[in-house]
């Protein structure tokens, strides 16, 4: 017998199930009076520095049908590329940017929507700048382990072209699955980011 490693195994994941909203967005599902506000509703308060934007889209299954029971969380840097986290060692993030958001996909249309600010650039491990991006985490009934991906910005062609993470995608046409197209809605820039769980347009998901 060799010596034992004093390590534990990570608890295995299980699906969030169809009723993930009960525990994560109870007010949204009509369970009120427990706490005033669901967590993650505000990613950037009105005083946050940076360009205000809307991120929206759908999560689609392998048949192209939008998921109406998914939950999406996002995690992003502030306009200067700093995260509002005790683990952020590079500086102090804008206190008006929590950087974390949580929204269900709509129970009828399947659309999700975040109001936030455009994040700044963050360095890769070797110091090269990554293109501005928002981390996504998707859970739902039928998803056994939460899916990590990133959204990049369609109007950041130069930064996207030199992003060391996007450069790791071997099938170059798949880079497009991570890039949100820019539009406008009542004078506010919008980025539409559809997440395809499966099929020809399957989104690139990460093992982080």
């Amino acid at each position: 017998m060799v010596q034992k490693l004093r390590t534990l195994k990570e608890s295995p994941s299980q699906t969030a199930g169809p009723y993930v909203h009960i525990g994560t967005t109870p007010n949204w599902i009509g369970i009120t009076g427990l706490w005033d506000e669901d967590l993650g509703r505000i990613v950037a308060s009105p005083d946050a520095r940076g360009e205000r934007i809307v991120i929206k889209g759908h999560v689609l299954d392998g048949s192209g049908t939008p998921l109406k029971d998914a939950l999406i969380e996002i995690w992003q840097a502030d306009a200067n590329g700093l995260y509002n986290s005790p683990e952020e060692k590079r500086g102090q993030a804008d206190p008006n940017v929590s950087g974390w958001g949580r929204q269900p996909t709509d129970g009828v249309t399947g659309e999700y929507r975040f109001e936030t600010i455009k994040p700044g650039r963050v360095s890769y491990r070797d110091g090269r700048p990554m293109a501005p991006h928002v981390t996504f985490w998707i859970v739902a009934r039928g998803i056994n382990v939460g899916l990590h991906t990133r959204m990049y910005f369609g109007d950041e062609e130069a930064a996207n072209a030199e992003c060391p993470v996007l450069a790791r995608i071997e099938q170059k046409h798949r880079i497009q699955t991570l890039i949100a197209s820019r539009g406008e809605e009542n004078g506010v820039p919008t980025y539409t980011f559809d997440i395809h769980l499966q099929g020809e347009k399957e989104t690139v998901f990460f093992d982080i």
Binding site: Q14, G62, Y83, G127, T135
Partner: protein, 241 residues
Amino acid sequence: MSDQGSFYQRDRSWHPAAFTPQYKTSVLRSPQYPLLSLDNTVSEMTGPRFGHGKIGPLDNDLIRNYAKTGDPIGQRIIVYGRVLDENARPVPSALLEFWQANAGGRYRHKKETYLAAIDPNFGGCGRTITDEEGRYWFRTIKPGAYPWPNGVNDWRPAHIHFSIFGHAFAQRLITQMYFEGDPMIWQCPIVTTIPDKAAVEQLIAALDRNGTLPMDALAYKFDIVLRGRRSTMFENRMEGN
């Protein structure tokens, strides 16, 4: 030596695969391309932190946090445990959110159609934050088993859903807790998406008679393990250094 390096690679053979046809909904919701392996960047090694100030005094008491006319029906239980990382160190200030069916196996959700009765005094959700030693506890009633549309006659064993935030977004986890001694655990198409029996057993809470409140509530112990990270001593040399 502090743990500030990147997170250990997730052991995908310990977790369920994405495509598990016995759980039918996974068939069209499972990515088919391989995941792109990404060494942690600061985007994954940071994460939101939630203050104890956000948590109300009844948030970890599902017996009282939705009670309207009296206590909910069901077996009164305490669920407690610790949140640890793979280095067996406690994870303080971890946010735990939990949700469950009532004693009859019915969820309070507008899309739920099971015929078992709604309990007017039971909401079915709560939350808490771990202390300095990674400990947490909450009070609830034991959820019931329920049938669900998968096979024509599939049933879920009694379970409580958990969502856990550690200190970094890379640690984000949702899982389920089962109850010691329940034979339905091993018949469930969702449980058996986990390929390893020992991994399933990691999700089964132990009945703890010593933790029981006499003449009041049974106790179940449920520890949760999040991903651990390298110490800076063992951190790989950065490319370009």
